[in-house]
Amino acid sequence: MSVEPAVLNAPEVHHCSKCGACLHVCPVYLQKMEEGAGPRAKVQLTRHYTERSLPTSEYLNNLVNCCLMCGNCTAACPSGVQHQSLFMRMRSYMTTDHGEGWHHKVIYHFLSHEQQLRLASRFARLGRNHMLKYLSREFKIGNIPARRLPEWNQQPFREQTPEEPLAEADSRGTILYFTGCGTNYIYDQVGHALCHILKIMGFRVEIPESQVCCGLPLFIHGNLKKAANNITTNVKLFNREDIVAIVTDCATCGSALHREYSNVLKELGLATEAAEKMSTRVRDIGEFILTNYALLEPHLNPETNRQKVTYHMPCHLRNGQGITTEVEELLKRLPHVDYARAVDYDHCCGGGGTFFYDHPETSHQIVSEKIKNARATGADLWVTGCPGCSINLSGNLEETDTISVEHILLLIDRALQK
């Protein structure tokens, strides 16, 4: 069960000056164009709920949960309100008041029990392939047609790699790789590309075997306690002095490890020192490669087939880790890339954890705009650095689309001389 003191402690609500600066940056508000959909109303409704001038209701629960947790509001807030922490707490209260749907319960259960998740992924793989034969073409999971969902890995990525670290003779040091569920269960080729690239750059890659889901899908939906075990396990494994960096290929996991762990622990009244220490070493793989580009450059084959590429910036990279221009900069440097920026390259894709499932219409409107503008660039490849965004962007493309979605690591890996 969620944390449950008598009254929601929400000091943030008194710091909101109600100026409205959060409205025009909120992807949900921009779709719905009504106050209740925006961050300011969520803060004010939370205030009324806390002060007991508004009773709880299913409708309130819906309003509070109709949020991508993208962090744009926090980034734009003149008064420094930490919306994500506040909403996380409010969501846990809503769960206490109204419970959660069985499908959410199932997801949260698996994400907090890695062993079972591993097993479930095998069934899911079979299930997906089997079920697709029987489902109509129109059947959708949230806003995504079932046929456009990615296939699950034959075997989880972490079981495909040797337990021994990938060593190099002239090692420039050890990198711990936090693989995330996206790579582990769905996009194993991204994980292989990451190991290959870092190895060529001279690093020794170590993949702690007993790592678990970063926990972000749990805590942003208010399941703080369930997330606490995941956080503690990961911090224990990754908080090491003898390493160069902890890398992630997932912007969402990165933001959890980089920023949110200590926030969640603080919310729960637990010690944050180890998480804070660990967070200083967390690096997004795109940014890490750019910073160490000199190590990669000699290995890139200038003869590689050129591609016109556009980019989607994940919210969890910009707002969650403060990485703004780095990945675009990297794309511009790659010898086989013609980079074309989409006008809304830095807008949210509308995926937002389970948002695409819970609010399919709004999510679809948001992603459709993205797709329109990505097509307009004329690019044939749409790269990003987050499996969640990949699933949503790719899942909403048409069968006839010539543009396809890919992790930036696969693009880089193709240019390595083999």
Partner: protein, 466 residues
């Protein structure tokens, strides 16, 4: 049931159904959560409406107002709700008419230099659209990234570059307005020169939705200037910086912006932005000129001369667009820097003739000190538009009493300087009690006569503006 003020007290289900049939499900909101969501702007007073409607057409609005008139239901128009004087807060209940879904740019015509927009268009979005063809719309309120043109018009919004270019009302060529009766009127045209009939746009700008609901606006737009020069002048004495402003304006130079910051603000801005502002300085002027290359060079030389004559200890010029942007970002961050110090931040905007600036700044500083407030002084100094920023906590009653007293004294001081209550934020609920300081009785009566003539039942945003 008709209650205080002659308004319908609670809306019965039957009337609600009638409104529902005008706009339909997607544009009708009456749950408590929605009513709370429309109970506030950035001012302190809050009040929930009985009903929220989000119309998408003039026809719908006309039908809504006919019905509201018939049943004496107050109607309060609302844009982004970013006003800081309570203008869109429905203090008599009734309907909040949210204009956010009427947000189309209907036409931009650079050959004839105008554009036509619906009221819900965001100022910043219009700027982006106009910039594609090398044009701009000058009024630039601090909220421009999220406030609507309709809201800007209702408050007759200004901003830093209004010193040179004028405020919202200087750019409104024409409007479509739905009157309280539901009748639709259109006035003005697409012509910059137009003396056909009364110039009603001047009347509706700043009327805070008390005279009619604006449904379409024709705006004058300008070509972007060819060149900019941006400088920062540093002073060890606040009076010297104020004197520099008076000298510049007095010499007939009209910069695109002339912004003043006092020591408190210099330091909080530097804490947050870390761009190398001189922490020891007592006063800072951010000056921007725009125009042709020759013109900006000439004006820049004159301005730096005036600053040096008034003992400026340092004058720094932004050398790159990035440096210019950093200075403006710092200026725009004033509010947020002060808002972070305490839960709330009140910005006043009493305005005085530019020559009274030194006197006004000294006076405001004395008042702030007298009441022991945490406050900084900024000003769109070129047009005497003062912006004292007061950090406070609404929950601290004792502090708020001091804030109230200080604000009243600032207004008295402004009046003694031939000033006015509000330069660009509007009256709303916030300054209504001070109106008599600025407007005499016959004049206020004349305004009420006008209001009564167009809105005999007083249903349009009652309790605001006048």
């Amino acid at each position: 049931m008709i209650g205080e003020g002659g308004y319908q007290q609670s809306m019965n289900t039957l009337i609600k159904k009638k409104f529902h049939s005008i706009v339909g499900d997607d544009h009708f909101r009456d749950r408590p959560e929605d009513l709370i969501s429309y109970s506030y702007d950035a001012f302190t007073v809050e009040a929930a409406p009985d009903l929220v409607l989000l119309p998408v057409s003039t026809t719908q609005i006309s039908e809504i107002l006919k019905l509201a008139s018939e049943h004496r239901i107050p109607v309060t128009a609302r844009g982004a709700g970013s006003s800081i004087c309570g203008a869109p807060v429905p203090i008599h209940g009734g309907i909040v008419l949210s204009m956010t879904m009427m947000n189309k740019i209907l036409e931009t015509n650079t050959a004839d230099r105008y554009c036509i927009v619906e009221p819900g268009v965001i100022n910043g979005d219009l700027q982006v659209e106009l910039a594609k063809t090398g044009f701009f719309y000058p009024p630039d309120p601090g909220s421009m990234a999220f406030s609507t043109i309709g809201g800007n018009l209702a408050q007759n919004a200004g901003g830093p570059r209004c010193l040179k270019y004028g405020v919202t009302s200087d750019y409104v060529l024409g409007m479509e307005v739905v009157l309280a009766s539901g009748e639709v009127i259109r006035f003005g045209s697409r012509n910059v020169k137009d003396v056909t009939g009364y110039r009603l746009s001047g009347l509706f700008c700043g009327s805070e939705g008390t005279l009619g609901i604006v449904t379409e606006i024709t705006l004058k737009v300008l070509p972007q200037p060819e060149a900019y020069r941006t400088v920062l002048a540093v002073f060890n004495n606040l009076d010297d910086s104020a004197a520099t402003v008076s000298d510049i304006i007095g010499a007939g130079i009209l910069p695109a912006a002339l912004e003043l910051l006092d020591k408190v603000l210099i330091n909080v801005v530097e804490d947050a932005n870390n761009i190398g502002l001189p922490r020891g300085a007592e006063g800072l002027l951010l000056i921007e000129v725009d125009g042709s290359e020759e013109q900006v060079e000439k004006e820049l030389a004159l301005i730096t001369g005036k600053a040096r004559n008034n003992n400026a200890v340092d004058i720094q010029q932004a050398r790159t667009p990035a440096e210019r942007e950093a200075l403006w970002r710092a200026r725009r961050s004033l509010y947020s820097c002060m808002a972070r110090l305490k839960p709330n931040c009140i910005v006043e905007d009493a305005t005085v003739p530019a020559s009274k600036l030194p006197e006004m700044i000294r006076g405001i500083r004395a008042i702030i000190n007298k009441y022991g407030l945490l406050a900084g002084i900024s000003a769109h100094a070129g047009d005497g538009n003062m912006h004292p920023l007061i950090s406070c906590d609404m929950r601290d009653q004792e502090e708020m009493e001091r804030v109230d007293k200080a604000i009243e004294e600032i207004f008295k001081l402004a009046m003694a300087c031939n000033g006015t209550l509000s330069g660009e934020h509007g009256i709303g609920i916030a300054k209504r009690k001070y109106l008599s300081m600025s407007i005499d009785e016959p004049t206020l009566n004349f305004m009420h006569t006008l209001k009564h003539a167009v809105d005999p039942h007083g249903i349009l945003n009652p309790g605001k503006a006048i």
